[in-house]
């Protein structure tokens, strides 16, 4: 039971981290953050326009 709990907790966190990394352009290229985000990366398109 403890084993399952521990494995679920840390593996869950690692999987979540991996998911978050998938959406981060600066993982592969640090200057990516300084360029305007690609259309599918925009969360609030209105604020990006100004």
């Amino acid at each position: 039971m403890i084993d399952i709990f521990t494995l679920a907790l840390t593996h869950g966190l690692m999987a979540l981290a991996a998911l978050l990394l998938l959406g981060r352009a600066d993982l592969d290229d640090e200057e990516a953050g300084e360029r305007p985000p690609r259309p599918w990366q925009r969360r609030t398109p209105a604020s990006d326009e100004d």
Binding site: L7, L13, M14, A15, A17, L22, D26, L27, E30
Partner: protein, 464 residues
């Protein structure tokens, strides 16, 4: 069920790697540290499913074929790792025990190759952070498990059951104690500077619980090495904390409060740190160390992996027993053979000779020195655009954390043979990556490598 869960996680990581090949590097870090093949007992444990090899090939091929190489540098320390690898290969060929040596070589080469390779992939800050996060969570998996079981009363020397049935590799009591203590500064760095999981109450609660679990590992395993490692970390943190007296006060109160709760088996075993004459484990160590020094004289180029199998010696242990008013001293003659080194420094001396030990030591000491240089550099600096100033900068924090983790490991390594553990070489890889990252990102603006007292007089004063 357990197997399916683990395989699902690994499968997810491997598939996600097609979008971001760097995730394969993280997958390998995870597999190499947690060794999920040992946790499961069904499909995942089958030797035909070479998980470690699959992840290794994916990580390497992903970098080679799909990843950008912009900013990747090959540092002098990576060259030393390659030299150490070549040297180990040579001693393996001429090993005294070829079969056993080949078995150890089978995992050592992977740890060394990966360490030389890792910094090439860690080109961005986020990648460095992700690697630290995976190392902390991987070791954390074992530490949290052991921590909960220790609280539940499942501890004892060699009896704490940590996810797997065998007491070897990272799952061995002394090794996991050292590694668990070593990740504490890294976990603190993540909680302060993390961008994947940004600092908030959840991150801090998890970090606090993780640190508590890590501190419980030496208690649960009753490994004396762990207690020494924790003491060293306590002193090292003193150098980096902002409010030293508050830290000392809180630490001593916590320590005093903890003593009554420690199990008797733990306090008894820790008592033998100073009175080692009656302790067979400590006597053997000293005998093996003396033997290794003599062995190196006869085999200056090293005897190859597992050369300790050649040893055999007879020694006396002295035990004092009190019976009423009288005290009796009992001497026992013990003969033993094929005793392991119980120290990484002697492990290297015996297996790789003077040259191998020297190379390994330079590699480690240079890492500590590089991190110290980064501490100097960032410690007194005003913040640049978008960066925190001085000690609040992520670079200063990471250099300090890597130095502390490394020192803790090197102290623990004096009492247990962990010279080639993947965990150590991942720390080395991270240091190389941070060093070359700073060199690359800062070089145009200022001379990074100015010595204090050189052309940067403001760095001449010692740290506060």
């Amino acid at each position: 069920m357990l197997d399916l869960g683990l395989l699902a996680f690994i499968g997810f990581m491997l598939v996600a790697g097609f979008k971001r090949p760097f995730l394969w590097v993280l997958t390998y870090i995870y597999i190499d540290l947690v060794i999920p093949q040992k946790i499961g007992w069904g499909i995942i444990a089958s030797p035909s499913l070479k998980l470690s090899l699959v992840a290794f090939v994916a990580a390497f091929a992903g970098w080679l074929l799909l990843d950008s190489k912009a900013g990747a540098r090959f540092t002098a320390r990576q060259g030393m790792i390659v030299a150490l690898l070549a040297w180990c290969g040579m001693t393996t060929i001429s090993a005294l025990y070829p079969v056993e040596a080949a078995e150890k070589w089978a995992w050592v080469w992977k740890a060394l190759v990966f360490a030389a390779f890792l910094p090439l992939t860690l080109r961005t800050r986020l990648r460095i952070e992700a690697a630290v996060l995976f190392i902390v969570l991987a070791i954390g998996t074992i530490a949290i498990n052991g921590g909960i079981k220790t609280v539940g009363g499942g501890g004892g020397y060699g009896t704490l059951h940590l996810l797997v049935d065998d007491n070897s590799g990272i799952y061995e009591g002394s090794i996991i104690s050292t590694a668990a203590i070593a990740i504490i500064p890294l976990a603190l760095w993540l909680a302060r500077h993390g961008t994947i999981f940004k600092p908030d109450w959840r991150v801090w609660s998890f970090t606090a619980a993780l640190i508590f679990a890590c501190l419980l590992i030496p208690v649960g395993t009753s490994a004396r090495t762990g207690l020494v490692a924790a003491a060293v970390l306590g002193v090292l943190l003193l150098r980096s904390v902002k409010y030293r007296f508050v830290y000392m006060g809180v630490a001593s109160v916590l320590m005093m409060a903890a003593i009554p709760f420690l199990p008797a088996s733990f306090t008894e075993r820790m008592g033998t740190i100073t009175a080692h004459e009656g302790d067979q484990s400590a006597s053997t160590r000293v005998a093996v160390w003396k033997w290794t020094i003599d062995f190196a004289r006869d085999h200056p180029l090293g005897g190859g992996f597992d050369a300790y199998r050649a040893n055999s010696f007879t020694y006396q242990t002295r035990a004092v027993t009190n019976e009423g008013n009288s005290q009796s001293v009992e001497y026992q003659t013990v003969t033993e053979s094929g005793r392991a080194y119980h120290s990484s420094y002697f492990e290297l001396l015996g297996e790789q000779g003077y040259f191998g030990l020297g190379l390994w030591l330079v590699l480690q000491l240079l890492g500590l020195w590089h991190m110290e240089r980064l501490r100097w550099r960032y410690g007194k600096r005003a913040g640049r655009e978008g960066q925190n100033p001085g000690r609040a900068s992520w670079q200063w924090g990471l250099a300090s954390a890597l130095q502390q983790a490394h020192l803790v490991y090197l102290v623990g390594a004096a009492f247990v043979g962990i010279a080639y553990q993947p965990f150590l070489f991942m720390l080395v890889g991270l240091q190389c990556a941070l060093w070359s990252y700073v060199k690359r990102t800062e070089a145009p603006q200022a001379k990074v490598w100015a010595r204090p007292g050189g052309n940067r007089p403001e760095l001449a004063q010692p740290a506060e």
